[in-house]
């Protein structure tokens, strides 16, 4: 049981920033940005080569985040100047970024075993202690980033970001430049994907050009799971963060349990797809059931709006 939880933490914690980025575009902006599949791998690749070049591990993470952010800005550029929908622009970017990532890495996979990473700061102890130590270090990085992001969402600029996704016309009439906000949100979402990619390569000890494939769908599945556990709203920033973290870890837990139960690794994609379907179905039907139950317990017409 400990092993399962630790496995879920070690593989899940680095994905929290990535999925928080997906949440930003998917829920706050109400759009689909497939760039994350490419920026996640590109961020991991940049972190890898800068680490090999001797950059400080924490700075290598920043470099990976910036690389991811640049990918997001390019997607925003395609969207705004060529007027392609974000979905299509992101798809084009994710395909093109595969080649870019391959060029950055030089080879399809690159090992980090001989290079100092964020985990070599602390002396290693063999066995389960190593995983525990790893998850604590990961938790420190992820908590710092997620706290900074939650803080950002509560600022005037963050509020403008949350508003443009619901009512762009209203946001413009209140003086918000929604084009600039689009660029900012795609930059942030992909910078966080790049940061997560950098954490993953340091955790697993290698970078792989294919590591981004499936990230988007996995993220959506995790977010839907999270929304089942916590009900976030646009004005409840703390809940947004908790929802993403809980969803990510729950999703990883399902995968780890499936693996431990003896499922071959090739079946994991199937489990991901199944998780997504179950989460959507649960959102549809469980919500109605919970709503009906609540309405029965408190016969107040005002509640109808909140249960939707």
């Amino acid at each position: 049981m400990d092993r399962i939880l630790l496995d879920a933490l070690v593989t899940g914690l680095p994905m929290i920033p990535v999925f928080l980025g997906i949440y930003t575009v998917f829920r706050l902006r109400e759009d689909f940005d497939l760039t994350v599949e490419g920026s996640f791998a590109a961020g991991g690749a940049v972190t890898t080569v800068t680490l090999i070049a001797g950059l400080h591990p924490a700075l290598a993470l920043v470099a990976g985040a910036l690389a991811g952010g640049v990918c997001g800005v390019l997607t925003a550029g395609l969207h705004l100047w060529l007027r392609i929908p974000v979905l299509l622009a992101g798809l084009v970017m994710s395909i093109g970024l595969f080649s870019v990532t391959l060029h950055i890495l030089g080879t399809p996979t690159r090992s980090l075993l001989a290079v100092p990473t964020v985990f070599t700061w602390f002396p290693a102890t063999p066995g389960a202690g190593a995983d525990l130590r790893m998850s604590i270090i990961l938790a420190v990085f992820v908590t710092a980033l997620v706290t900074a992001y939650a803080w950002f969402l509560r600022t005037e600029v963050g509020l403008a970001l949350r508003a443009t996704g619901v009512n762009a016309l209203m946001a413009r009439s209140q003086g918000v430049n929604d084009r600039a906000i689009t660029v900012l949100s795609l930059f942030l979402a992909n910078a966080m994907a790049g940061f997560g990619g950098g954490l993953i390569v340091q955790t697993q000890g290698y970078a792989d050009v294919n590591m981004g494939i499936g990230t988007f769908v996995a993220g959506i599945g995790a977010l839907l799971l999270g929304e089942l556990l916590v009900r976030p709203g646009r004005s409840t920033v703390l809940r947004i963060v908790v929802c993403v973290a809980a969803g990510t870890l729950a999703y990883r837990l399902i995968l780890v349990v499936a693996l431990r139960a003896g499922l071959p690794a090739g079946d994991l994609r199937g489990v991901t797809a199944l998780t997504l379907v179950v989460a959507v179905a649960a959102q549809r039907h469980l919500r109605d059931a919970v709503g009906a139950l609540r309405a029965r317990m408190t016969p107040d017409p005002k509640l109808e709006g909140s249960t939707r």
Binding site: E156, L159, V166, S173, Q174, G175, G233, S306
Partner: protein
């Protein structure tokens, strides 16, 4: 002072489906003047609002505010000077954001948005104070989602938000059109108070002739993208609804039911059911 200098607005310019929304419209409204605007469908009332707010860029002519040429300034960069209340109560607020978040968004209007927290104790105190003036109890509902409010409450909130930062121009685009008569009457009273309190130049578009006559100190009648009649305080006081209908009809526009049917017109069938 708001100045429109031979403003023209043409949609689908030089195409077979070309539509002339505004035709060489010139208008000067001194600072603080309350102008009501009426006209039939397609007269160019909403185009006038869009040109002043910056949502549409004129095809020709200039828009000046306080002597500054604003013709090419996009709507979000005019927001500090021009506040707008939409005809759709859902358009002026973000339903999934809380009341306080909506108001905080309006409080930063016209300033550079920074990385300061959007909500603060000082801001919340000001919000409560402004909302209390409405007498709707909204001051106790700051964390509630705006989507939970009724249409009248939402339109009242939009009005309060419009007055939060002192705008130079207030645009009211048929802002009572979607409200029931009782609510419309209350929001109308609020409108008069807000305009008096803020003291800015106001353009109120309406299809209700009674409202157009009751409020403001100047009345414009629009038809086919032009101002066909410009009534000052004295003419306006002397005018009746029938006079206005004649002015619209005289300009060659059909007078739609929406204008003729007054909001307080009793509807027999509903009365019979009660």
């Amino acid at each position: 002072m708001l100045e429109l200098d031979e403003v023209g607005l043409v949609h689908n310019h030089r195409r077979t489906d070309e539509v002339v929304a505004l035709k060489d419209l010139s208008l000067t409204a001194p600072a603080g003047q309350f102008v009501t605007v009426i006209g039939s469908n397609g007269a160019g009332k909403s185009s006038l609002v869009r040109v002043v707010s910056g949502a549409a860029r004129p095809t020709s002519g200039r828009v000046r505010l306080c002597g500054r040429d604003m013709t090419r300034l996009p709507d979000y960069r005019r927001a500090g000077l021009v506040a707008r209340v939409f005809d759709d109560p859902r358009a002026g607020t973000a339903p999934e954001l809380s009341v306080e978040d909506n108001m905080a968004l309006a409080m930063s209007r016209g300033e550079r948005r920074t990385l300061r927290f959007a909500l603060s104790a000082k801001r919340r105190a000001l919000m409560r104070e402004r909302l209390a003036e409405l007498g709707l109890g909204l001051e106790d509902r700051l964390p509630d989602r705006v989507g939970l409010l009724s249409a009248g409450q939402r339109q009242s909130l939009t009005m309060v938000m419009a007055g939060l930062t002192r705008p130079e121009v207030l645009l009211l685009d048929e802002h009572l059109a979607a409200l029931d008569p009782g609510t419309a009457q209350r929001v109308l009273g609020l409108t008069a108070e807000l305009v008096r309190g803020v003291g800015c130049t106001t353009l109120m578009i309406t299809h209700n002739m009674d409202h157009a006559l009751a409020l403001g100190e100047r009345l414009l009648v629009m038809s086919r993208g032009r101002v066909v009649a410009d009534l000052d305080q004295r003419d306006k006081r002397a005018a009746s609804v029938a006079d206005l209908v004649e002015l619209i009809a005289g300009a060659g526009d059909t007078v739609s039911d929406r204008i003729l049917l007054r909001e307080d017109t009793p509807i027999e069938t509903t009365k019979g059911q009660q």
